[in-house]
Symmetry: C2
Subunit: 593 residues, 2 copies
């Protein structure tokens, strides 16, 4: 217990297991080995628990180790962020409660830390973070094609299933937690943002690499092609538009087999408009890509891919639903100026599926990308001119935070309501209209007992009316597939985005705090002004990026919701017109009755 550390910043514990630290406080460490960015120790009050490794300076060691931890923390942060967002999934609901999710997340953080019980080099840690998704080039086929078993798309049942996925002894944390996160549903969404905020409140800024960048610790060579420009647009900072915009269709997937039919999997046919060349991609490819993107972009909301599912993967309904989810996902990917242009996405879209060699090359390159996390900020170029006003930035961020909170609530409300509305149409509404149809049918049958010439026409007309109401009952039951379902798909995509934003906001907030702290330090003579200017400048870059991402969110949101509401209303109008048409047919039968 001779291991000591000094708190560099104040840290207020927010969760069980964490302990609070005052600035300059000396803490005893149980190990200098951080657990996913957290250290365990006891503070001066004798409280024992976890605190962010980046908030302390280890005294019995060289301080570089702290920065070492910082620079690799984006992996574990990503794993954690992903794990704590149960809203990103599309589709079926699970029954997990908030508490279960919280416990799972905590457990995952700690146990995966224990698995990696010796200090890991950055590259190793990176591999650890997405071991299961990434695999190695050698077991690519082995791992990824063994799809006729449940192992392809594991579903978390309890909290201790690690190692179920692959037999090579490496941790499957990220995959298991990602499937965990995707099991979320609308009901959980309500509180998901809070979970995310709570668990990551202090670690996000650290783990995202935001802190390391602001403190000037990120370093790397930025090639021209990697440059990401923020420009000043009509409404403020925005991402520079993709000069070569494209979209990408996802056609009906086909079931494919290999090893003489022993193994089967679903391949989606992707055709990007800028290459006009179809490539086949499997769900695990999407999953791998998603992991790469989350790792790379700290202040960009990467759309969540549709949730995993263990059973019924080859069932038509599920495939169709997943395809719709992937189309939404693809739409958000291609319309994002930064995501759409990044190398790993382009590799995913354009590499010939048959060319194993170039696929592996691209895959390896993406996994070795150094411009991730803290280094991502190095690639951002901001508009020339004065830096952003910090007060204004903070006000915009606070406004956006309030906006996303309120939008999250109303999205949950719309989701719950339309879901219930759909259920009522499929059950109650259908039943009521068909009962009316049956009653008219019964009346028609009673009337048919009178077969006098002048009765026949009426009998037939009433029988037709009965059938019409029966059909209308079916219309009601079928309708939600055409209007409610697409709306809910969109809402779920946005629930994923909304769950991403608390972390993005915290990165920004962390940067702003660092500026304030550095100003204070300068006043106190603890920091020279040049150093503080650097903090300022780097915070300014994060501010530009965050504001650009917010602007992008609003623009896409307005586009998406306008289109979706139009589609919804158009479908509803068509639905009521179809009913009207059926009733008009029935009415006409009485003309000659």
């Amino acid at each position: 217990m001779a291991l000591k550390a000094r708190a560099l910043y104040e840290f207020n514990s927010e969760n069980t297991g964490e302990i609070s630290l005052k600035e300059h406080e000396i803490v005893s460490l149980y190990s200098e080995q951080d657990i996913e960015g957290w250290l365990e120790g006891s503070n001066s009050k004798g409280e024992r628990g976890l605190f962010p490794a980046s908030y302390v300076e280890i005294l019995n060691n060289d301080t570089a180790s702290t920065f070492n931890n910082n620079s690799t923390s984006e992996d574990t942060y990503r794993g954690s962020r992903y794990a704590n967002i149960p809203t990103g999934g599309f589709g079926d609901a699970s029954n997990k409660t908030l508490n279960q999710i919280e416990n799972l997340s905590k457990t995952s953080i700690i146990s995966s830390g224990f698995t990696a019980s010796s200090p890991l080099a950055p590259a190793q840690q990176q591999q650890h973070g997405y071991q299961a998704s990434q695999g190695s080039d050698e077991d690519w086929d082995e791992d990824w094609d063994d799809t006729s078993t449940v192992a392809d798309e594991p579903v978390v049942v309890g909290g201790s299933h690690q190692g179920d996925f692959d037999g090579n002894g490496s941790s499957t944390y990220s995959v298991s937690t990602s499937s965990m996160s995707r099991s979320g549903n609308a009901q959980q969404a309500k509180s998901s943002a809070t979970v995310s905020r709570n668990l990551n409140r202090f670690s996000t800024f650290v783990k995202s690499g935001g802190e390391a960048f602001v403190l000037g610790e990120a370093a790397g060579f930025v090639k021209d092609g990697d440059k990401i420009c923020v420009v000043t647009g009509q409404y403020g900072p925005e991402w520079q538009e993709n000069p070569y915009p494209f979209s990408c269709t996802i056609d009906d997937p086909t079931k494919q087999t290999k090893f003489k039919g022993m193994k089967s999997y679903i391949a989606y046919k992707l055709t990007p408009t800028h290459t006009q060349t179809q490539v086949n991609r499997r769900y695990k490819h999407f999953d791998w890509l998603y992991a790469r993107l989350v790792e790379k972009f700290p202040v960009i909301s990467v759309p969540h891919i549709p949730e995993k599912q263990a059973t019924g993967r080859f069932e038509e309904d599920f495939i169709s639903k997943r395809r719709k989810g992937l189309i939404w996902w693809m739409n958000h990917m291609t319309s994002h100026p930064v995501l759409s242009r990044c190398d790993v996405f382009q590799h995913f879209l354009s590499c010939n599926s048959m060319d194993q060699k170039s696929w592996k090359q691209g895959k390896r390159k993406a996994e070795k990308d150094e411009m991730v996390g803290a280094n991502f900020f190095l690639t951002i170029s901001t508009p020339s001119g004065p830096p952003l006003d910090l007060v204004e930035v903070e006000s915009k961020i606070d406004g956006f935070k309030a906006f996303t909170k309120k939008m999250d609530d109303s999205v949950v409300q719309v989701n719950t309501t339309t879901n219930e509305f759909a259920r009522k149409q499929i059950t109650g509404f259908k039943k009521e209209y068909q009962k009316v149809g049956q009653a008219f049918n019964a009346l028609g049958q009673a009337f048919e007992q009178d077969q006098q010439a002048y009765s026949v026409g009426l009998n037939q007309a009433i029988a037709y009316t009965g059938e019409a109401y029966d059909a209308i009952g079916d219309y009601f039951a079928e309708q939600p597939r055409h209007d409610v379902d697409p709306l809910m798909d969109l809402l779920q995509l946005y629930q994923g985005h909304l769950a991403n934003y608390p972390d993005i906001i915290h990165v920004q907030k962390g940067a702003l705090n660092k500026v304030k702290e550095s100003q204070k330090h300068v006043e106190e003579g603890k920091m020279d002004a040049r150093q503080a200017d650097g903090v300022n400048e780097r915070c300014n870059i994060i501010s530009f990026a965050t504001l650009a991402e917010m602007q992008h969110f609003h623009q896409v949101r307005v586009r998406d919701f306008k289109a979706q509401m139009q589609q919804y209303l158009t479908e509803q109008i068509g639905f009521f017109q179809k009913i009207t048409g059926k009733l008009e047919e029935a009415l006409q039968k009485y003309d000659n009755a």
Copy 2:
């Protein structure tokens, strides 16, 4: 107990309190006084109970007394028939069970018998039968205008309220039982026909005067103007059409007062097309007229007037509902070739409401009409040519019986279903659409937090969409008034008709049985052929009348249901078009969003 009677016909008891008799069986009587056409006594097996007075010949007295009972039985029959039909009413449901109704009916029969404990002359009995409705000329105003109290429209709460209505000591049986019958609703309708059939199975033929007529005991002078012609039409016997067809509008009633506002009542404004003169009639006038018609026409289904109601008589909803019921009633009255032309109805339609003297004259004349019940059949003139084939008539009657049974069932089903459908629209459907509206509203409000120029249009459009769904919820709640209510009004009118038919069918069946019996009696040498021919001829008249009435029912039914279904569908189409229009308005808001 020395009083004895001999059974003229076999009688099979069908209800508790009745006893079976074999032909020629000698029964002991407890009294020679019949109770609404029933005698009490014990049969040769020692069973004690009721049997039809007309089925026996009293031995210790002159046989004329039996015929006396017969000739006056139409009054009591009418009272009983009316009492046993709880389906004739329009409007509000009561909670009376079938058993309660049965018990009330039984009680009424017996207790009104005890009230009239001495033998009554025919004229007296007739007055007794509709005492309360008829009143006397002297207390016309007194009785009929005292409408500011509940007494105007009594409602039966228990089974022993007789004498509540008027204080002059006369029995109010018919009024109390008619209000009882009008408290029926759709739920009771299901079994009402059965009740009616059971209670009246053997008494109907006797009480209606059908038997007396067939046996040649009816006698009266038929003026030319009283003649009712049955002709042979395209589909068989039918009533000769009214050469001067007319209709009659019923305008919105007004609340009128007299005695300086101390008394108030509702007056309906009737304008028959053939007189073009408006007359004011009150509900009790309709009630009085209805009683006259029921008394007069044994094999014609007199449409039931809307039910009485004790409270809320001046409330707009009730008045409007009653008016609609009266319009339906009037429609059926004016379209019936016989009912529309009869004196009492013409008097009701055309007598100046202000001319008290001529009203009283017409009223007295109607109440003294001798061409009622058995004598009604005397007024019927049948087409020349051979008599109807008895087997064919019986087959048609059986077919009609099956038809009305099946129609009754399906009318109950349509009534129950559409009633429930209306309830669902007013509650559940409305709620679901308005919840969708609220959810969209909430989304719009969340979006309004973003006031960038490109968001405003969408925010407004979503807000409008929320309002549109709120309005659609209201449309659903309002709609049943426009389509379900009129349909239910029609169904209730037909439930009244369907409840009338079992009795009408029994009169016909009784006549056919009498023909069979007389043939047997001729074969056994108990009756001479000429007498049997007379029975045949008179049965033929009843057959013509019954078939004409059946034909009329079918024609009016086809006309009514065709029109009603057209109206229903037209309203439904308009409803869905209104929804479509609202949604189209909402959709347009997105054009500039």
